[in-house]
Symmetry: none
Subunit: 244 residues, 2 copies
DNA sequence: AGAATAAGGTAACACACTGTAACAATAAGC
DNA sequence: GCTTATTGTTACAGTGTGTTACCTTATTCT
C-alpha cells in the first residue's frame, strides 16, 4: 500500500483541523470531512484506508453512518467520542467499529490504534464482523445473526457462550484468512481505554479449544478451525453469506 | 461534535455556579444563564447540546420558557426542580422535558441522565423521543402505553408490576442497545433521593429476572432480554413502534 | 533417526459475574 | 387490625473466562 489515506470526520472545525494536522505530522494522508455526504464524496473519489469518525456529528449520527457505510464497503472505522459512557455500546457487533477511543484522547494512543487497524486491514477484511446482522452457513451449520443462535447440521441449537459466539463470528467474517492471536484478541474486545498491547497469554488458545469442542465433529482433528502453526488460526470451511 | 455544550439555567447564583462547576469537572462545557434572555443570547451565539433548566426561575416559569423554546428549536431539556411532588407532571410530555430530576439531587444521577440524553440525541431527535409514541410491538407481544398494558402473543394480558413495566419501557425505547445497570437505574429512579451509584446493589438484576419470568417463553435461555456479560443487558428483539 | 526445542491442546483451578430463592421492609387493600 | 403485593437485599449456586501447568505434537538440529 502506498501512504495510507485517512478520512477525518468531525463537524467541529477546530477538532477536525487539529486531527488532520496530527495525522499528517505522522506520515499519513488526512482528508477532512464534516458530513455524511462529504464522506461519500471522498470515498467515491479515491481510495480510503481508514475512517476516524466522531460518534456525535450534531444532527447526524456517526453510528448510523458507519452502519450504512458498512453495508456497502469494508472500510475500517475508528470511533471517537466525548461520552465515555458510549464505550460499552461499541462492543456490540451491530455498531461495526474496529476500535474506539475516548475524547480527549492521548495522541500516541490514537496513533497506535490507527497503525494497528491499518496493519491488520492489509491482510484481513475488516475484523469488525461486517455489519448488519447476517446469517452465515458453513459445512451444514447455520449461524443466525439476528437471534445470535448457532444451529448444528441436524437443526438443533447449540449453546455457545458470548465469547465463543463472538469468536465464531470473527472466523466467519474472515474465512480462509489466517488470523494471529493478537488480531483475534483485538477483534473480541474493542479495547477501549486500556493500551493496545496486552499479552493475554493463552486465552485465545483456550477459547478456540472450547469452540472446537462445540462445533467440530472430532475436536482432535479439526476441520473447521485449523491451526496455523507459528501464526494463529484459520477458518477453513467455505462460508455462505445469506442476507436476512 | 466536539465537547458537548450544556446550558445551566438557574436564577440562584450559588446553585448555578455549583452546577456549572460540577458539569465542567465531568468533561463538558457549561455555560451559565439566569434568565430567558440569557438563554436566547447563548443559543443564538453558539451551539447548545442540552439545557439544564430550573423549573422555578423566580418570576419566570421554566416550563413556559421551555415551551417557547420548543416552538423554535429542538434542544433537549432536563428539568431541575425542588418540588419532587410534580415530577409526574414533568415526565408528562406536555411540558416537553427529555428528563427530570428533583433537587436536591445526587450528582451521579444527574450525570447519568445528562449522558443518557446526549447519547440518545445522537440516534433519535429529541422531538421524536418526546412525541407520544405509546404502543410498541415485539415478537408477537404488544405493549400499549396508553393503558400501560402488556399483552402476550395470544392476546392475553399479562400483569406486570410498576417497575417491571418501567423496565420494559426502557428496553423497548433502547432496543438492540446494550444498557449498563447504572443507565437502567438512572432511567428507572424517578426519585432523585439518596444514593444513585452502586449502593443499589443487585436490584436491577433481580428486576430483570422477574421481568424475564413474565415475558420470556423459557426464562432460562432468554431471547428478549439478553445479558451482556460485564456490561449489562440488551433487548435483542426488533421493536415496532406504533403511534397512538 | 533420535534428541532437543518450540508451539499448541487441554484439564484443572481461580475468580468474577450473573441468576435466583428466601427474607425483610414497605405500601396497598380489605 | 390482617393479608397481600411490590421492591430491594442478602446469600448462595451456577456459569463464563483467563491462567497455569503439564502433556502432546511438530519442527529443527546434530
Amino acid at each position: 500500500m502506498a501512504i495510507p489515506r485517512l478520512l477525518v470526520v468531525d463537524d467541529d472545525p477546530e477538532m477536525r483541523s487539529m486531527l488532520t494536522q496530527f495525522i499528517r505530522q505522522n506520515g499519513f494522508i488526512a482528508l477532512p470531512a464534516a458530513t455524511e455526504s462529504d464522506i461519500r464524496k471522498q470515498i467515491s473519489a479515491d481510495r480510503i484506508d481508514l475512517i476516524l469518525l466522531d460518534v456525535m456529528l450534531g444532527d447526524e449520527s456517526g453510528i448510523d453512518i458507519c452502519q450504512s457505510l458498512r453495508a456497502e464497503q469494508d472500510v475500517p472505522v475508528i470511533f471517537i467520542s466525548a461520552l465515555s459512557a458510549d464505550h460499552h455500546r461499541m462492543k456490540g457487533y451491530e455498531v461495526g467499529a474496529d476500535d474506539y477511543i475516548a475524547k480527549p484522547f492521548n495522541p500516541n494512543l490514537l496513533l497506535a490504534r490507527v497503525k494497528a487497524v491499518l496493519s491488520r486491514a492489509q491482510r484481513t477484511s475488516s475484523l469488525a464482523y461486517r455489519r448488519r446482522i447476517k446469517t452465515f452457513g458453513f459445512d451444514g451449520w447455520i449461524y443466525e445473526g439476528k437471534r445470535d443462535e448457532v444451529r448444528a447440521p441436524g437443526g438443533y441449537q447449540v449453546a455457545l457462550s458470548q465469547k465463543e459466539t463472538a469468536l465464531l463470528k470473527v472466523f466467519l467474517a474472515n474465512a480462509h484468512i489466517p488470523l494471529t492471536r493478537e488480531e483475534i484478541a483485538a477483534a473480541l474486545d474493542v479495547t477501549g481505554e486500556s493500551d493496545g498491547t496486552e499479552a493475554t497469554g493463552r486465552a485465545i488458545d483456550v477459547l478456540v479449544g472450547r469452540l472446537r469442542t462445540k462445533i467440530e465433529k472430532d475436536p482432535k482433528t479439526p476441520k473447521l478451525v485449523r491451526t496455523a502453526r507459528g501464526v494463529g488460526y484459520v477458518f477453513s470451511a467455505d462460508v455462505e453469506v445469506k442476507e436476512d
